[in-house]
Symmetry: C2
Subunit: 603 residues, 2 copies
């Protein structure tokens, strides 16, 4: 069943796990990202006045528009609920730059405006349409937040130009973007303006992808940018993970608007492959930094996991969109898995530094070996979060995700309010109002009050073995349907558990992960003398308790081992009983450069 | 106690494990390497007539002299025992090239002869002294084999020039070689010619290393080429593994000739670090391809092990040299570990193809992932041996190791013949004669006859728990001393066993290797349905039997596991009893591109 989205504009978070993070986002992350973008020249670049001879480290890159636009989009979601005068002033300055430097025919891109407009639309790998898409998203968000339409009007002109160049003139050197994202942005632009041209342009890019002779695959690899054939036949999660998830999000939005079941079936196939064969337990996507991409089924190495923050965010975007097309709690389970693990780990607990990559294991020896200072650098992620990266897509993506998380909670069917995520909040839309009270994920107790609808359908997650409720309910498509006339009080009865990987995931043979509700846990040397030489007793109870930034910690029982001095010996290492303290994965690497392990060897 | 080497010239192998390999070396490998060197232009390059515009793939590289010289050296060891007319003719042609192109002051190097003699001795990283050293070794071997001294005389001129440039004039741009090897070669040249100048030149290079201001560390890293300070203070196995082991071999030879205990003590320290903290169970050296080098203590990853064939060979060279300086069975144990595992795995069973790297684990998924065809190549070794590499040091190193293995068996003390290795052979030197009969490593039965000495001292290896002998003996320094008047018949009582790594070797936590005598075993998918999902029962007997190219195979008991279809599940995988067949590690990857595992998870 198709349901109507309830945007983050219509949802206010209440005190709880996510409100705490939204506050950190607003109070720390917004400025942290802006300041770093300012220092690195990204902000200033909107004046389009960098010239040869100026500071090389401020030289604009062709993806800088997208970084800044994502920040504007994120701030706009905050502006839907409260004032941020300084940030709004900065956004206006940025829009000034766009307005001043947009060409008479409606083109704007920092890089090409500076380095040669004659080269525009000639290189499929130059992220122009990706940057345009992020501007469209930002412009719509800013308009929806403030009612000010200057940015939106500029972006309509840009979108019109793209329509003309790609659909009417066919004068670009390529047919579809090397880095998708504009597809989903065009749907947002269509929804915001009502102009069907943007829906058509989205449809054009989707139908032409992998289906024309002019698009030369990037890096000689049709899979890299998902040029694998007509999108209607798409079946596998392949290539660059973020590109694929943005692309499929656009495809899903298009299917939603047009009711095109064949297109949606492609989304189903791709999401199934992505999440049933190629997803880290944390929701991470992409097993290798080489191409930041999907590899093959069950190939999920822990130490070298790429699992980019943006890939996790974009998988959540796709799954949430799919949950609006058809009611199926599995989609929400995926969103939740990404939110509480691989996405949240992308930002420090303080909110001022970021991970691009989110591995499932860190061994100091890989960093502290003598060769690390050598001119050949091996590829391991930084062990602590960085303030900014040269490729800085993830930090502003965190800003906008945190600010818009309210949009993932509710949706509205004909007479039913759907609760997708257990986030303390209130919503009001079209005569419907609702309120969720919960300490989730500390425990599974959730209270829902709703008015203006007949039914409330609350997701029953895959990890709920016993649903306790104060009212009768019916289960359908993974949702518990309650009459909305009374307050619903339910308990998901969360419990800690060992989770085993498919035996084709070779890194995890003889090991298990620990979860509590949607939370994946990890062990760090900050809490334990050894994390590599602990063997868990999977038959013993897991102790749950304490509070780690809104979630419990756990302790598992087992044995540690230690060998003699010899490098090799016929004597097995000596084992002694021990316990291992584990924290939620999202909080790893916030206490220095320690070792971290997600999959624990079993006794 | 210092003993006298007995060269491979004085030793003839008898039918057995190593004779089989020597025959393959002579009948297959010698020509295989020559033919590939011919095809790649290495042989032709000795005419020094490559010019710009000629085939780019035949353009000489600055290490080509060393490749070819090593092949000459290997063939020369064969010529000590039998005729190879075609190979000898080819060597003469190569010497013609050297003679014709050597400069009037005695310089020869294919690369610099072609690309500019004015640049000679200006770049420490251009392997000139390394190439010279290999020529010295080859010239001495060829002279000792044939009595023909043309090559030797040319190389004496070259060595004299180097002495003049480096010691007298100090006109080179550097003081010591970036790639050591000349040190040990100068000792060979000294021993062959009796000219003390070469001993002095060796001493100069050793004493100056890490001890002068002119040598700039390569790649800004003093450890890379072992520029870590005075050699007398050397303490760690660091930097490029092959360079270090060649260097320490030269240092050991120098100490042997001069009785310099302080220098030898440095060898002891370095070897101890190399073998007690940084050695794969296979004798492999160097944990990373990044710099082909040592990393840190206990950092011994299996899949990405570099463990270059040349590094294993050169560790054996060092340990054997040390065994001549002082009687200690541990040195021979190290030699044996390298010979039967990481060195032998460097060549295919047929003798015509080679591994540069020798990992301890191969997972097909790392190769078969979709990104493998991508323009960014991840670094995994080829899964099957190659005919030749662009950097082709290992194949000719195999040729000379196989041909000279007889030199690792015996040495002579004052009244005692030492048996270092259990290799079926006869030796005759200075009135002493001996014969070893054995099927080792199929079993531990060894018969030794000796004449012309009072005692025979047979090494008792670290894995011998019970030595059975037909005669009384005394144990000293890890050797069993017998009176030499009767035939000694002994049995090392080999057995198969699980071997545990130090618990700081994180890749091997919860796993064990399997050994029989000096042989490390591995499991391949060629013999087993799964190698990754088998759990060994370390308390069960290991079954030993069969014959795999002169060594037994083993079978271990335990369980396999298989999960359901789910990627993640609360249900542990189902285990069923099973056995795992294992072959000697040296034979891995001779049956197609399968998976291979050395460390087996434990039940």
């Amino acid at each position: 069943m198709k349901t109507n989205a309830i945007s983050c504009k219509d949802v206010t978070l209440k005190d709880g796990f996510w409100k705490t993070r939204q506050d950190i986002n607003k109070n720390v992350t917004v400025d942290a990202v802006y300041n770093r973008f300012y220092e690195t020249g990204r902000i200033g670049s909107f004046a389009c006045n960098w010239r040869t001879g100026d500071a090389e480290d401020q030289k604009p890159h062709y993806f800088w528009d997208s970084d800044v636009a994502k920040w504007i989009e994120g701030v706009s979601y905050i502006l839907m609920h409260e004032k941020l005068p300084e940030a709004e002033k900065n956004i206006e300055w940025l829009i000034d730059g766009i307005e001043k430097n947009m060409t008479s025919d409606g083109y704007y891109n920092v890089y090409f405006n500076i380095f040669g407009l004659s080269k525009r639309f000639t290189d499929r790998n130059c992220h122009e349409l990706y940057c345009a898409g992020h501007h469209f998203e930002a412009a719509c968000a800013y308009y929806n937040a403030t009612g000010k339409d200057r940015y939106l009007r500029l972006m309509e002109r840009f979108a019109d130009l793209i329509y003309k160049v790609f659909v009417e003139e066919k004068s670009a050197y390529f047919v579809t973007p090397g880095h998708p994202e504009i597809e989903l942005a065009l749907i947002t632009l269509y929804r915001t303006t009502g102009n069907k041209k943007y829906l058509d342009l989205c449809s054009f890019f989707v139908e032409q992808r992998g289906n024309n002779e002019k698009d030369i695959p990037l890096f000689n690899d049709p899979k890299y940018a998902y040029d694998v054939g007509p999108m209607r036949k798409a079946a596998y999660a392949e290539g660059h993970s973020v590109r694929m998830n943005y692309l499929m999000s656009g495809v899903c939005d298009l299917a939603y608007e047009t009711g095109d079941e064949e297109l949606f079936e492609a989304c189903r196939r791709v999401l199934k492959n992505a999440t049933h064969k190629r997803m880290y337990i944390t929701g991470g996507q992409g097993s290798t930094y080489i191409g930041e991409r999907y590899t093959s089924d069950y190939h999920l190495p822990n130490k070298t996991a790429y699992a980019e923050t943006c890939a996790s965010i974009s998988l959540g975007m796709l799954a949430h969109r799919m949950s609006l097309y058809e009611t199926n709690s599995e989609y929400d389970d995926i969103v939740e898995r990404t939110l509480y693990n691989n996405t949240l780990s992308g930002v420090s607990l303080e909110g001022d530094s970021f991970f691009y990559e989110n591995p499932l294991e860190i061994r100091n020896e890989d960093y502290e070996t003598e060769y690390y200072d050598f001119f050949w650098q091996p590829h391991y992620i930084p062990r602590t979060r960085r303030k900014v990266f040269s490729c800085s897509c993830c930090p502003p993506n965190i800003v906008r995700l945190m600010a818009s998380v309210g949009g993932y909670i509710y949706s509205l069917g004909e007479d039913t309010l759907f609760i997708h995520q257990y986030i303390a909040s209130e919503c009001k839309k079209d005569g419907v109002s609702a309120e969720i009270s919960t300490s989730f994920p500390q425990n599974g107790k959730i209270t829902v009050k709703a008015a203006g609808v007949a039914k409330v359908a609350v997701r029953v997650p895959y990890y709920c073995k016993e649903l306790t409720a104060n009212l009768p309910y019916e289960i359908k498509d993974g949702y518990a349907y309650f009459d909305a006339d009374k307050t619903v009080e339910l308990d998901l009865n969360l419990y800690a558990r060992f989770v085993y990987s498919n035996t084709r995931v070779y890194d995890n043979v003889g090991r298990a992960a620990v979860m509590y509700g949607p939370l994946v846990y990890c062990a760090e040397t900050a809490d334990n003398a050894t994390v590599e030489n602990f063997f868990a007793d999977a038959s013993a109870d897991i102790s749950v308790g304490g509070d780690f930034h809104g979630a419990p910690t756990v302790e598992i029982s087992g044995e540690t081992q230690i060998s003699g001095e010899e490098l090799y010996s016929e004597e097995p290492p000596v084992r002694t009983p021990a316990t291992l303290k584990m924290i939620p994965y999202f909080g790893f690497a916030n206490r220095g450069e320690g070792e971290m392990l997600t999959y624990i060897p079993l006794k």
